[in-house]
């Protein structure tokens, strides 16, 4: 059998709406029998942070950053019309209305379909966060060479 077609997604943004779009594409691609890798970098790391507990880091600037930039699938703001949480609440209601699963469920579903999650170690180093900050679904911690090696053979490569 021919090698599977590959899809790579770079998740740079830490916003709920963009993450939803990314996971829809990932789940769609996995449903079509494609091999999917998602690379989470910079603000995108927020998508795969644990929802529970605090994020530990060292130094005043990193501590401040991680307090203001806590992340976690349940905490992501919208890129537009956040309105101090009112917009996000409304989008949540509308999504339930069309039986669209919340982001946490999409993450679990993607994982169940074999989608691979990689966290960018450079962003982790800059932000001062360790592996324990992330959900257990994350498969690997790596850098741009890993991404490019996969993207080189990818039929669809997106930056979100």
């Amino acid at each position: 059998m021919a090698e599977k077609e590959r899809v790579t997604l770079v998740i740079f943004s830490g916003e709920l709406d963009k993450a939803l779009a990314a996971f829809n594409i990932a789940i769609g691609a996995a449903s079509m029998g494609m091999e999917v890798s998602m690379f989470f970098t910079f603000w995108g790391l927020n998508v795969i942070k644990r929802n529970e507990g605090s994020i530990k880091s060292k130094g005043i600037m990193r501590k401040m950053l991680n307090r203001m930039n806590r992340g976690g699938a349940k905490r992501l703001p919208l890129s537009k019309f956040q309105m101090l949480g009112l917009g996000k609440w409304m989008i949540g209601r509308l999504m339930r209305d069309i039986k669209s699963p919340p982001l946490e469920e999409l993450i679990a579903m993607a994982k169940g379909m074999g989608v691979k999650f990689t966290a960018c170690t450079t962003s982790m180093g800059m932000m001062g966060i360790g592996k324990e900050a992330f959900i257990p679904e994350v498969d690997s911690f790596a850098g741009v060479a890993t991404y490019l090696a996969e993207a080189k053979g990818g039929k669809v490569n997106l930056f979100i």
Binding site: I27, A30, S31, M32, G33, K99, S100, M113
Partner: protein, 76 residues
Amino acid sequence: MKADATLDCIGLYCPMPIAQTANKLKELEIGQVLEILADDEGIKEDMPAWCSTTGNELLGIDEEAGQYKVYVKKSK
């Protein structure tokens, strides 16, 4: 059209109908037909695209009053 199994995707939007189709088809044998019920119009374009990518055969789409019956034959 006669089907070996039915999948109810009424009320579901992309990508759930194709994700569930992919999942359900695993339970069928090659040559068997799956009937998918859906009401998101996107299915009219998405299911042919899903079938041509995955190598399964789209036997037809019946549309009636905003609901779609899609027939997919498991081919591999």
